[in-house]
Amino acid sequence: MLKIENLRASVDGREILKGLSLEIPAGEVHAIMGPNGSGKSTLSYILSGREGYEITGGSVIYDGKDLLAMQPEERAAAGVFLAFQYPVEIPGVPNATFLRTAVNAVRRGRGEKDLDAIQFMRAVKDKSKKLGITDEMMKRAVNVGFSGGEKKRNEILQMAMLEPKLAILDETDSGLDIDALRVVAEGVNMLRDPARSMLVITHYQRLLQYIVPDRVHVLAHGLIRRSGGPELAHELEQTGYAEFAEGQAA
């Protein structure tokens, strides 16, 4: 589904990713763990097409296509979804309007017909209910006045509606208490599917108790330093990231 090879990327002339390679087969959930500043968010932004990153080497093949050559909206239509670490507030745009615009844009990109208002409301009703998103939250401007948990649940609702093939969850656990985390994780687990790959990026092992990954990778200083099964997350919880400090093991 996703094959990253020897990816090098810089921001303002500073190299952040230094030859990162990673492969996620269809239907698998992979976790990337790593200390702050290791390049986790850079990777998620590069995969979703944010401007401001210079790719200096390597390749990213998604579903047989050169992902890096695609515009962000093309990636979304092709099934790439990024759950933002810091969901953006959009004053003046009602959440329902935004979500319907996004769903129809992606449907159009996939050669499907638009959902009309009634079809959309029907499609969103069940999913929003499971995530505890009220009608009132759908009427409010996107993320404006939302609590941290509401914002993250709103991200998962978008994911559920857009039905991606590759979901990247960038520190979706940050700023959540345990109850909010549980709701978000349940939402993610409902979306696990043999046809859907996920990349779960986190600093903490806690999230991986609820979203159990098939593989865990440690990202430090722009490279995958270690890969293993779910037990690697537990090990890191004990030892921390000290062994991956600059100059150590590679």
């Binding site: 401007e51 515009q71 962000p72 909206e73 996004a102 844009a105």
Partner: protein, 423 residues
């Protein structure tokens, strides 16, 4: 001026003469109020108003044209077009008619009112309008009467280089209420509309005044509005400015007695090489009055907008609560906004604030929308619409808010359509 001199009473001739003598030429940019807006484009203008239009071929459908509006008065080149107008049933005592009609049927009603609230010595363009007073709108609502439904006033410019001087006279008695929805449409190169609105609002009365500019891009429109408020009166105005080549809107609100409330909001959407100027003075003359100004602008291409907003608090206007906010989105490197917020405060127990921001579309928000599959042009339009929506929220009539929202969406769609392809 043959049409004007026919049956003019002496007071009206005197009023026009005063206008003529107070108009000492077009305002110069050396005048503070006109610092950012020049009227050079009018230099070659003869100023003579256009003659009455020939009845439109669509005149037959006239009566039905009011649509859902309770009352609609249409003016073509400043002159009442009865075939396009429709006045529904009104409470007893309400006067709603064209100025020309009242001048010929009940001139005495106007002698004590017309020109009384507008100081033409200070306002050259109002003086020019006064020199040519002939037609326009009269709305007089007696004490305690609320006019249900919107009073729609449509100003349509037609023919070659149409020149018009519409005059609005609005008087609300004590505890009266009315909603005026004004739209400016049509026009052609060289077109010029110079309008004056004189508004007097009695104690406890409320006037909602919504204005939409959607004229052709080659036209010039200048509006001078003055509203005088009594105790506990409210004036709630919103102007959506999405048309015209040069549109200048000058609003002065006099809060003459305690408890008055003035709200002067607006949104200006400026593309091409259009120019808009919103100049507001809120004159707090009495204590315990409040005023609100929220102006939002979106400027693209070589467009230019001016917003001058002044809150004047006179010495005895204690407990004044004044607020002013200006937010502007610049969509192109050439787009320009000149913002001049001004607080002049002579009382010592007041609360006044103002803020102004100028920015570009939020790159994070744009990326977020694109990452959700929304193509860039559509994502930009959605963000701009959200921004304008924040201004439209100040409109407390749902039907007007929706209509203005649609007009803003149309402006956005027209702006983003490739040249020569408007389908």
């Amino acid at each position: 001026m043959s049409t004007v001199t026919e049956v003019s009473p002496g007071w009206l001739t005197a009023l026009r003469d005063a206008g003529k003598s107070n108009f000492k030429g077009l305002p110069s940019q050396r005048q503070e109020a006109w610092k950012y807006t020049g009227l050079n484009r009018l230099k070659a203008l003869a100023f003579e108003p256009s003659s009455s239009p020939t009845p439109s071929p669509h005149g037959g459908e006239g009566r039905g044209e009011g649509g859902s509006a309770a009352h609609r008065l249409a003016f073509i080149n400043g002159r009442y077009a009865v075939e396009h107008s429709h006045i529904g049933s009104l409470p007893t005592g309400v006067v709603l008619a064209s100025l020309a009609e009242i001048l010929s049927t009940q001139p005495a009603l106007l002698e004590s009112r017309l020109g009384k609230a507008m100081d033409t010595a200070r306002k050259p363009m109002a003086a020019l309008n006064t020199a040519w007073i002939e037609d326009g709108l009269v709305l007089i609502v007696p004490r305690g009467v609320a006019v249900e439904g919107n009073i729609e006033v449509v100003f349509l410019a037609d023919g070659e280089a149409p020149v018009a001087y519409p005059r609005l006279l609005v008087e609300l008695g004590e505890m009266a209420e009315a909603t005026l929805v004004e739209s400016h449409l049509g026009g052609a190169a060289g077109g010029f509309a110079n309008q004056v609105a004189e508004i007097v609002i009695g104690a406890g009365a409320t006037l909602r005044h919504y204005v939409q500019h959607a004229e052709a891009a080659e036209t010039t429109a200048v509006e001078t509005v003055t509203a005088t408020l009594s105790r506990d009166a409210a004036y709630k105005a919103f102007a959506l400015n999405a048309g015209g080549g040069l549109v200048r809107r000058e609003v002065e609100v006099q809060l003459t007695q305690p408890g008055g409330f003035a709200q002067v909001d607006g949104a200006y959407l400026v593309d091409g090489d259009r120019h808009t100027d919103t100049t507001v003075l809120i004159d707090h003359q009495a204590d315990h009055c409040a005023s609100r100004q929220t102006q939002k602008g979106v400027i693209d291409n070589d467009g230019r907008a001016v917003y001058q907003g002044k809150i004047l608090v006179r010495p005895n206007a204690q407990k004044t609560d004044g607020y002013q906010l200006s937010q502007t989105l610049l969509l192109s490197p050439q787009a320009e906004i000149d913002v001049k917020p001004e607080l002049e405060i002579h009382a010592d127990d007041v609360k006044c604030s103002h803020g102004a921001t100028v920015g570009r579309l939020d790159a994070d928000a744009l990326f977020f929308l694109r990452a959700r599959g929304i193509p860039e042009a559509e994502a930009r339009a959605l963000l701009i619409q959200g921004f304008i929506g924040g201004a439209l929220d100040e409109i407390d009539r749902d039907d007007v808010r929706e209509a203005f929202g649609l007009a803003a969406a149309n402006w956005l769609a027209g702006r983003s359509a490739p040249k020569g392809d408007v389908s």
